[in-house]
């Protein structure tokens, strides 16, 4: 088996992984970095992020305001000290990206421009047209080329972490082009593999978003935190789930039901005004907007389309010129994929799974409760999103916590030696044998696509926008059944060169583990908070019992064991989460309270 030895190994080369790698290379060029990705870095799913990245920028904005928007947006399940650090670092990271060449959209005076985003009180979202993630990813990838200490392992598929003597000491990967194995020994490992949206049927995610890093850490005893919080993005393409960015609404788009009525005003988000008011109506948070769709559908006020019930995203009043300038990709997607000219007709949309708020349990400095292991980005639960992420906080998160993970993993790597090669080699051999066993399964078993489809449908049925115990239990039962059937999964392809079916089978194992963590965490949370909404007698938030992070622990062949951990509250006591006119009143009351205390 081929062996490489480095100081820090990073699994995943999207925004967070690249930012981490650059942070290490810049701070200490003598440290060697392995950057491992199952795709070429520029294919990573960061590429698909559209709307922008949040950072307090304007003179009348404050870190305070970004903090409060984020914490209230997360329904108070955020780690408040971590949020405070995050908002404080955000602007510097945007400037750093600018210095690296990111083509941010500009104001006439040459400064970077900002746009409005859902749940954000003041415009603070930096953007590069409507391809912000694409530009950030390419900027980071291209910048990373400057640094000779970063050694890339492109198209290498990580099958397991190597944990020995109580700490992570590397990983085993398949070089996809040859099907050969490569052991990468490292003093510390950063997981930056992105989310797990593909556990759900209708989702905005790329095919590679299969929860790999979450499952890898989970199987080694690291809990997955707050996994029940899954974000439905309210404006997605029927059938495929492809995303129409929130910036459509930031730029002034409306959501209409079948009567042409801006229905959000019926769900505590009004008043409806002709131009967008921040934190109201179409600029409310994603969980509330997706929930409003669900109610409209129940009331029979949606439109029937070939792929289900839809509402309309109406951009016509913005005019073709502005749409082409600010939302060029959206324009193209609507025309090419739906045959809809958004300057002339409204776009049919529905909610689809977009983002996993939870992830690998991490402290405020990205460290997992396993020595030497760090995580950053969507795979990580560093604690800033709580029960509902605000749009444009996640791209910023990649940068802020990618950098932190890099610095921390580098610092740790300097303190520990490489472990004993024989022990690590033996563990790698075991992992290799497990991966190869899938290739040797007898034929006549289950098809990968069948299991994946049943899993994704079951997750949608049980862990969708609104949940009940009965439906969640049914999903938990289904997942247990699928785990059994997964043992008989068979593949047509027994070869080694570019065997993507083999990788799909391994990914399905990751997906099933993550799906179980989501479903069981959801079933155990007997309250409604943020994106986790229940209809079965737990419709209210219950701070007395559930102002807690859930922790899903891998438990052998059985379902996960669910435990709870404390939430760090510093400055913001849980309050009423209100938007629109009611939200403005609540904000004013909060400020008055704080003035009294100050």
């Amino acid at each position: 088996m081929d062996v490489a030895e480095v100081d820090v190994a990073i699994v995943g080369a999207g925004g967070a992984g690249l930012r981490a790698a650059i942070a290490i290379a810049e701070s200490d060029p003598s440290l060697s970095v392995a950057l491992i990705s199952k795709v070429y870095p520029m294919r990573s799913h960061t590429v698909a992020a559209e709307g922008g990245a949040a950072a307090v920028t304007q003179a009348h904005d404050t870190l305070e305001a970004h903090f409060h928007d984020t914490v209230a947006g997360g329904d108070w399940l955020c780690e408040q000290d971590v949020v405070e650090y995050f908002v404080g670092q955000a602007h510097q990271e945007m400037v750093q990206m600018e210095h690296w060449g990111c083509p941010w959209s500009r104001k006439p005076d040459g400064h970077a421009n900002v746009r409005a985003f859902g749940g954000m009180k003041i415009e603070r979202t930096w953007f590069a047209a409507d391809k912000t993630g694409f530009h950030m990813l390419h900027t980071l990838f291209q910048t990373s080329i400057r640094y000779p200490s970063i050694r890339r392992f492109d198209e290498h598929f990580c099958v397991d972490l190597i944990v020995e003597a109580g700490r992570v000491q590397g990983l085993l990967a398949i070089e996809i082009a040859s099907g050969g194995f490569r052991l990468i020994r490292a003093r510390s490992v950063i997981i930056a593999t992105g989310g797990a949206g593909r556990v759900f049927r209708e989702n905005t995610n790329g095919g590679i978003v299969t929860g790999d890093g979450m499952a890898l850490a989970y199987r080694h005893g690291v809990p997955l935190r707050d996994m029940e919080f899954v974000q439905y993005h309210p404006t997605c393409m029927p059938g495929t789930g492809l995303l129409f960015t929130e910036a459509c609404r930031g730029e002034g788009g409306f959501l209409l039901n079948k009567d042409g009525y801006r229905y959000l005003q019926d769900y505590g988000l009004g008043p409806a005004e002709p131009t967008p008011r921040n934190k109201a109506m179409e600029l409310g948070p994603r969980d509330r907007l997706s929930q409003a769709y669900w109610h409209e559908k129940r009331k029979g006020r949606t439109l029937s389309g070939p792929h289900g019930e839809v509402v309309h995203l109406d951009l016509r009043h913005l005019g073709e010129k502005r749409l082409r300038e600010r939302l060029p990709q959206i324009y193209e997607l609507a025309v090419q994929y739906l045959g809809v000219d958004p300057a002339a007709a409204p776009i049919p949309v529905l909610p689809a799974v977009h983002y996993t708020m939870g992830g690998i349990s991490a402290d405020g400095l990205t460290a997992a409760p396993l020595a030497g292991l760090y995580s950053a980005g969507e795979c990580s639960s560093v604690g800033i999103h709580g029960a509902n992420r605000l749009g444009s906080n996640s791209l910023t998160e990649l940068l802020v916590f990618g950098r932190v993970a890099g610095m921390e993993a580098a610092a740790y790597a300097r303190t520990v030696p490489h472990g004993a090669p024989t022990k690590i080699g033996a563990l790698a051999e075991e992992a290799r044998a497990r991966a190869l066993a899938i290739l040797a399964r007898p034929s006549g078993g289950e098809r990968i696509a069948t299991l994946r489809r049943e899993m994704a449908q079951s997750m949608e049925d049980g862990c969708g926008i609104y949940r009940t115990a009965a439906a969640m239990q049914a999903t938990c039962d289904k997942l247990a059944e699928l785990q059994q059937r997964y043992r008989r999964v068979q593949i047509d392809d027994r070869s080694r060169v570019w065997n993507t079916e083999w990788l799909l089978a391994i990914e399905l194992g990751f997906l099933l583990d993550v799906a179980q963590a989501i479903a069981h965490s959801a079933l155990s949370r007997r309250e409604s908070r943020g994106s986790h909404q229940r209809l079965d007698g737990f419709a209210e938030r219950d701070d007395a019992h559930f102002l807690k992070h859930s922790l899903a622990f891998h438990d052998g062949d059985g379902p996960p064991r669910i435990a709870y951990g404390p939430v760090k509250i510093t400055r913001s006591q849980p309050g009423t989460r209100a938007y629109g006119a009611a939200g403005e009143q609540a904000d004013a009351e909060r400020r008055a309270r704080e003035d009294v205390h100050a």
């Binding site: 294919r43 799913h45 600018e98 210095h99 060449g101 941010w104 005076d109 090419q336 570019w498």
Partner: protein, 250 residues
């Protein structure tokens, strides 16, 4: 759900472990009006033949993974719809001019090596600390290079380029567009460092100005335009070298 009708998809298959050369295989795929070529291939892989190899991810023409030849033309399979290819058969091959690793999967390494070689990162004209804030850049300055930032590295232009087909050392349209992107950025001062790459035999002068690269570009980057602009720059650079010694200001 719309009622599916079948379409025939023929794929040029090749597996280096057991095929002496690529060979066509035909599949019958149920097809609805909103299905992309990629979805057709996914159907084959999921339901008919799990051994079919192709790259894909985002499904929305931004990750650049799924380039292939569709009826002889370089296309992103996610952005090409079966309804436009009726009644079929649809012929799918790996991107032209690039070595096939397996089935529809080509070697990307050569392209990435070229991309890395041109210093595709900002070499600041005037270094600036973070505390000094962002560089100012007006919308007009941004517009001078913005279209060249849109390249998704899908390599369709390499499959379209007749010169690249003859000479794989040519750095090619996509990478020249990226080089131009940095040279044209008001913040960048790295042009002199990148110029030798353009001037070399494998640089802009290899281009035969066919322009098919721009025609197939799914992101309207117009690499042919970047190449042409740099032919002018390279020519000027060539003549200036007779007038001024190296290192002297032109």
């Amino acid at each position: 759900m719309p009622e599916p009708k079948n379409i025939e998809i023929c794929v040029l298959r090749y597996h280096p472990e057991h095929d002496p050369e690529p060979a066509w295989r035909s599949y019958q795929v149920p097809c609805t009006d909103d299905m992309s070529v990629l979805q057709g291939l996914q159907h084959i892989k999921d339901e008919i033949d799990g051994t079919l190899g192709f790259r894909w991810s985002c499904r929305m023409a931004i990750c650049g993974s799924c380039g292939m030849m569709v009826n002889g033309k370089p296309r992103l399979s996610c952005q090409t719809f079966l309804r436009d290819l009726q009644p079929g058969p649809v012929r799918i091959e790996a991107l032209a001019h690039l070595p096939i690793e397996r089935d529809l999967i080509v070697d990307v390494g050569e392209f990435v090596n070229k991309l890395e070689a041109i210093k595709p990162y900002l070499i600041p004209r005037e270094p600036r600390t973070l505390a000094e804030g962002e560089y100012l850049q007006t919308p007009a300055q941004l517009e001078r290079f913005e279209q060249y930032t849109s390249c998704i590295n899908c390599m369709l232009c390499y499959a379209a380029c007749p010169e690249y087909g003859l000479n794989r050392d040519f750095i090619g349209p996509g990478v020249i567009a990226l080089l131009h992107r940095y040279n044209a950025d008001s913040r960048d001062g790295g042009q002199a460092q990148r110029q030798p790459i353009l001037n070399a035999e494998e640089g802009v002068w290899s281009c035969m100005a066919v322009g098919y690269c721009s025609e197939v570009c799914p992101k309207q980057v117009d690499p042919a335009n970047a190449v042409n602009q740099n032919k002018a720059v390279s020519a000027r650079d060539y003549f200036l070298r007779f007038l001024a010694p190296k290192g002297a200001a032109p």
